[in-house]
Structures are given as C-alpha cells and as structure tokens.
Symmetry: C2
Subunit: 210 residues, 2 copies
C-alpha cells in the first residue's frame, strides 16, 4: 500500500499539468483496469497503477482507500464484499439466504441495473477479469461466510450459491426477465431464499422435493 | 419461410460471383446477425437476410432449415429448444429438473464451453439480442414445458428456472468456478436438481428449509 511518504519517492515527476479530483480518479480507474488485466490482482501494485495514470500513488489511498477499493471501483462493484460479512452473519443461520438476497438486490438496484450488465460484459470477454473476480468474491465473501457457519463441502456450496446469486443478477439486470426484473424484494426472497438456503446449509446429496 | 420457389422469384440477380457452401453459410450468418439486431426476430425476413448476404433465399432452408434454425445458428445456440420439449416431457414430472440439467450440460459441454461465454458476451452488450433471446427461449422452451405440466404462476416459474439454469452456465462456462466447472453431470444433478425442481413444480410461497 502507498502512503503519504510516496510523494517524496524516487519516481520521476509526471506530466506537469495539475489534475482535479475527477480527472485523477478517472485516470486511476482507467490505469487500474489496464494494469489489473495485464498483471492480475496480486501482482499489480498501487505504484504501477499510479505511474500509469501519471498521478501520485498516495491518491489511491485518498480516493479509494487502497488497492482493494480501487479494484472494486475499477470492476464497478458497488460494495466491498468484506464489509458485508459481519452484517450478513448478524442473525439466525437459517435466514442467511434471505439476508444475502435482500442485500444483493438493494446493492445492485441501488447502483442501477446497468452496472451489473457492465460487469458481466467485462467479465465474459476477459479471462483475467474472470479469474480476479472469482478469487476475490470467493475468498472475501463466501468462504468467510461458510467458515463462520462451519459448513461441510464449502467449495461446492460456494459454487452453488454463485449459480443462484449470479443467475438472479442475470435474470433481473441483464435478461430483464419478468416478473423477476421488476419484482419487489419480498417476492424474490420468498421464491428464491429457500433454494439458496439449501445451498448454504442444506443437504446436498440425494434430496428430493415433492 | 422461403422455399425452392424463391429461386424463381423477382429479386434481382445478386453479385455474379459463385460462392461455395462455406462462403454462403458464413455470409448468411453475418447478414442474419445484422438484420436480426436491426429488425428483431419477428420482423426480419428470410428474403431480407438473404438479400443482405447476396445469396438466394432458398439457401436459408438448404443450410439452416428456415428462419428459426438460422436464428439459432446466428446466436450460436447449439440446439433448437423446440426439439427438446418432447424429450424433456418424456418421463415423470418430478424428474423434469434432472432431465433439463442433464440435457443442458450435455449440449453446452458438447459445444465447448466457450460458446456459452460467447453467447453471454453478445447478449450482455445488446438489448435487442437480449430481447430476442428472452422471448425465444421463454416461448419456445419453458412456457411450453410449463403448459404441459399445468403449473400455477408460470411466468414466475419460468424466470426462476432461468436464474438457476443461466447461473449454472455462468458458473461452469464463464466464471469457471470449481468444483462445478469440472464436476460430472451426476454431481450437478444431485446438488442442483432439487432446487430446479422446486421452481418447476414446488411451493413458491413461504417455504422454509431446515
């Protein structure tokens, strides 16, 4: 992570012109998309991205709170999954699916559905973006949730949860499939939460439903 | 639909050069993607598409069996959903989800997973492609299945089924999320079929699972 000390580092002074905040943020986002795509999330450094953007590395902390926040902004993800974990775990485990669905819908509805479609576009065309997003969401969100719950077969549960949550996003925000596209969150919860809850804590074996 | 009679129609003779079969198919697919995107599935005619491609309209029947087949090929959908309905309905209703999942995985695994990602890319960036695909799949596949089953709330069931099936495709073919990306079909069926079956024939109300 960069710090204010980076202002006095040995990087060459970049293009002389001053930028305002909007310019700086925009330049950092563009550079971040390029550098993350080229190098992956782990290898990309704040200094490299700031260098590409022609701005001081300290601006990454200033505007995005660090590399993780810059990544989320660059991928247009409107919430930090890490911030969600405590909130999602605050309640009965048998209602976790309902809490996940309410939060998912409020985050993406709030961001405007077009942002989910933009994320899908960027991911579907880009194996590196796919792998970054996959590792990030799995490690930061679902694995932590499942550890807290102590579930068996966590990898399979994570993947199954992803099918349902991503599929809901596709139906609501990309395919615009009615009645889900304009359903209120209570309809979504009552119809989908039981399925998602089975993936989180239910029996994954030879379960049969009438 | 065009027919052999179209060979003798009043369209002007197009570019004089002869094409071989591969050229003709390729020109028709390119023209179809353009014309379907411009005019939508219903308005686009075989004659317009053939005209754009500079080939005889009869070639659409010859190579694709008609407009529906040309649409599926243009969208890179490796199977005609209409052909699946009798097969999917041949068996106990309570095992319909299992049959859908087995067929979905065999079709897209067989086509090479990249084709699903290509479909998602083309759809996520194109509202017209979304609307064509949405109407086509809903009308041709799921509505017909649910009519046969006589289910209540068919629109909601269709949309819910889509969340699960599309979400599985995203996890397996786009995000490559293990263990689902390389799971055998039996694992997919035992873990996902109960959820899909609830969407098809189960109680969508205030169902709760332990």
């Amino acid at each position: 992570m960069s710090s204010a000390a980076d202002r006095d580092n040995d990087e060459p002074k970049r293009r002389g012109r001053r930028r305002n905040g909007a310019d700086t943020k925009s330049a950092l986002l563009t550079a971040a998309r390029e550098v993350f795509a080229e190098q992956g999330y782990e290898s990309a450094t704040v200094r490299t991205i700031a260098g590409r953007a022609g701005v001081d590395p300290a601006m990454v902390n200033h505007w995005f709170g660090g590399k993780e926040g810059l990544f989320l902004a660059a991928m247009r993800i409107p919430v930090n999954p890490a911030d969600l974990v405590p909130e999602l775990l605050d309640g009965p485990p048998e209602e976790l699916a309902e809490r996940i669905l309410r939060r998912f819908v409020s985050v993406w509805d709030g961001a405007g559905g077009g942002q989910f479609a933009a994320l899908v576009r960027s991911v579907a065309g880009n194996e590196i973006a796919v792998s970054m997003l996959r590792d990030f969401v799995r490690n930061v969100l679902f694995n932590r949730l499942l550890q807290e719950l102590g579930s068996d077969r966590p990898d399979l549960r994570v993947a199954l949860c992803a099918t349902q949550v991503v599929g809901l996003g596709m139906a609501r925000y990309v395919i615009h499939l009615e009645p889900l596209a304009s359903a209120d969150v209570d309809t979504i919860v009552s119809s989908i939460a039981p399925n998602l809850q089975r993936y989180l804590t239910g029996d994954l074996g030879e379960v049969t439903f009438a």
